[in-house]
Amino acid sequence: MTDVAGERTGVPEVAVPSVDVAPESQPIGWRHRHLLDVDGLVAADLELVMRTADAMREVLARPIAKVPALRGRSVTILFYEASTRTRVSFEVAAKNLSADVVNIAASASSVTKGESLVDTVRTIEALGAQMLVMRHGVSGAPYLAAEVFGGSVLNGGDGWHAHPTQALLDLYTMRSRLGGGPSGLGVAGRKVVILGDVLHSRVARSNIWSLTAAGADLWLCGPPTLLRGFEAWAGRGAAAGRRFTVTSDVSAALRDADVVMALRIQRERMSSGLLPSLREYAARYGLTAARVATAKPGALVMHPGPMNEGVEIAADVAAGPQSVITDQVTNGVAIRMALLYLLAGVSPAESAKP
């Protein structure tokens, strides 16, 4: 927690790498071999990711948005869940760094023939992969993969548990827009609201860790059935210096907010009795223009996608002037480039606890 306190008084000193050359050719203060969650990242880690992503944004602004930093490296993208946005974002990020990319969709692999995750990961490694980007529907699955994989594992989302690159691109987007400037995480003391299906959301869980580490005034809001357990976490978190507020009162949550992030509502929540109907959800918790107007003027509107427009977010809000949803997508590529780059610079021998 000392790092959080340090963040409020000053930005940790980090050496920003030169991303045009290979990461192992220079000293970089990054010691994590895998990126499985954001709970282990301290403020200095977050700052290094942000600064490296700044450098990647510059690469993306070039006429040819490509550097040779990861030339000759093999990145395998293994997705056990359907995804377009995240998978393509990782693929573009890896290719921008000149890595060789292999894509495996679980439906097309031997997974459907009953092969175990451990066997699949061993096979991928035997085929030469040095970095493994993985999405899985079961919480914790990347930890099992990291146990057997010889290279680095990047979690692209596991069950309800974690979505670290999404949390980092969210932080990066807030930092860019909230005037943190080139230094600082930008969200310290800012009121950030995560609105919707928190219970089933890996995005919410990862954002709890990164936003509280960055000193945000975090609020979680949604129907009580979709906040199960979080009041207790908030109580524990306060004792550990990780403060956040949990409420079903949407007006209290949105009042004077700096950032509002809506989460996707899935239809199966109705069949399991967690919600009466989508219509009722939209009326009570949907992010409408009227609700956005109760936040601070110019408050940022975010959504991790894919959106159900007209349910958790109104179409005019999603496309409106306060929306930074397309920024999130662009920043996602820069953040994933930064993370691939940072992880590639860590050899297994010198890495800290993953």
Partner: protein, 464 residues
């Protein structure tokens, strides 16, 4: 037959309520002499070294045969039991096929015979056919064949109406219903105790209320049934929550003849272990928080931690210990649940429920004793006379009139362990085929030196 002399050891004999320095002599498998030392002869002998107690009784073990012999067989299960100090094991009926027919009992008895293990194999029969919860299994035939109770374990007796009938019918046969208390409508897809750890890790919550609701249902029905069938008996197995144990405590104080057991893992381990912490419940304290306390040393989501009922909060584990101390809980039972790697070394959410625990039970209990959570005699009582009382006069020790004690003239049935000698739990040190222990790599006190069952050596530690 075996001859044995142990001098200057610490004897613990719950049947006579006695513990202290002593000596035993076994001749041709019979416990010929039990001598309690006094005065100068007893000098220097205390409870911190070699200890001799009656052989342990496990009311609840999954031996997997027939149907899943890759996970365990009767032979390997009995060998694991002997390594853990157990001389009597009650096999659970959730095999394939289920033990809903005397022929299945004949089959596992034949397997026990073929194994030549002297550990006594007892068995619970299924309550319902194929454990499906719909129609009663032939309880009378199974009783005649020698089962010691009835259980649909792995699942509760689903229908309250069936449970009512089963309690009455089994009661007339003098046998208990051993219920796995879980309300399945609350636990569909559940992965971990519904609490702080599950919330943080994004695991589907397994609520305390699912156990409490089932215990309340069972107690209410049992109370009704007793009016008609005073001999009916209900045993609640592997209780894991403070609230459920509170219900049992109150029922007992109201005079209901209900009994229950707690597993070694539920009294010592907690849901923090899923997060990667490796401290015992009493080290965590009731408000333990592995993140705040910075005690996460292992990777999270280890599938060995997945078990039904789930590892609970530290407060619940401490309540299990309190229940064992004050008599609310009658016995420690292992719920030994061996699994293959194929079923267990997978994603946490896909992993089979269960802990291979019959060999680590004594060690975990002794850790609790070392921490002052249980006294040594109480701990040994919970492994011997506690379960024996639930079995009644079934089992060869009772049937022979010897009872479960260090009884002179009876076939030697005892365990010798060295409390000061620790051992490391690893796949090679476990005799069970199931290597799915949360304790792999950890050290436990109380290495078993010798287990004798029915006058024969069941396990002997290799010479160093």
């Amino acid at each position: 037959m075996t001859d044995l002399e142990i001098s200057r050891a610490w004897l613990v004999d719950p049947a006579s309520g006695r513990e202290g320095p002593g000596e035993i002599v076994v001749r041709e498998g019979v416990l010929r002499a039990v001598t309690w030392l006094e005065g100068d002869d007893a000098a220097g002998v205390d409870a911190s070294g070699v200890i001799v107690t009656p052989g342990f009784i496990d009311l609840h073990a999954h031996l997997r045969e027939p149907g899943n012999e890759d996970a365990e067989t009767v032979a390997t299960g009995l060998a694991a039991a002997a390594h853990g100090g157990f001389t009597t094991v009650c096999a659970m009926p959730n095999t394939t096929p289920a033990l809903d027919d005397p022929a299945v009992l004949d089959r596992i008895r034949a397997a026990a015979e073929a194994s030549r293990s002297p550990v006594e194999l007892l068995a619970h029969g299924a309550v319902t056919m194929d454990r499906s919860g719909e129609t009663l299994a032939p309880l009378g035939e199974l009783a005649d064949a020698g089962v010691v109770g009835f259980s649909d374990d792995g699942a509760p007796v689903r229908s309250a109406a069936i449970l009512r009938n089963a309690l009455a019918y089994a009661g007339a046969l003098g046998l208990p219903i051993v219920d796995h208390a879980e309300d399945p409508t609350q636990t569909a897809g559940a992965e971990a105790n519904d609490g702080f750890v599950a919330t943080v890790l994004g695991l589907r919550g397994w609520p305390v209320s699912a156990e409490v609701a089932a215990v309340a249902r069972d107690l209410a029905i049992f109370s009704d049934v007793l009016r008609d069938v005073p001999g009916a008996r209900l045993h609640l197995t592997h209780l894991s929550t403070r609230a459920a144990l509170d219900l049992v405590r109150r029922a007992k104080s109201d005079g209901l003849p209900v009994t229950c057991d707690v597993t070694p893992h539920h009294l010592a381990l907690t849901d923090e272990w899923i997060a990667g912490a490796r401290r015992y419940a009493w080290e965590a304290g009731p408000d333990g928080d592995p993140w705040r306390d910075d005690v996460i040393g292992a990777e999270p989501f280890a599938p060995a931690m997945r078990v039904n009922p789930p590892l609970r909060s530290p407060a619940d584990a401490l309540a299990c210990l309190a229940a064992l101390r004050d008599g609310t809980a009658d016995a420690i039972a292992t719920d030994h649940a061996p699994h293959t790697e194929v079923d267990k070394v997978v994603e946490f959410g896909f992993a089979a429920n269960g802990i291979s625990g019959i060999e680590t039970a004594l060690g975990l209990v002794l850790v609790a004793v070392d921490a002052g959570e249980l006294t040594l005699p109480r701990a040994i009582a919970l492994l011997t006379i506690g379960p024996a009382a639930i079995l009644g006069d079934r089992g060869r020790r009772s049937a022979a009139g010897a009872g479960v004690g260090l009884t002179e003239g009876a076939p030697a049935d005892l365990v010798v362990f060295d409390r000061a000698d620790s051992w490391t739990v690893n796949p090679e040190s476990l005799a069970s085929r199931g290597k799915n222990s949360p304790l792999l790599g950890m050290s436990l006190p109380g290495r078993v030196l010798l287990t004798m069952a029915g006058g024969r050596t069941a396990y002997e530690a290799p010479a160093d």
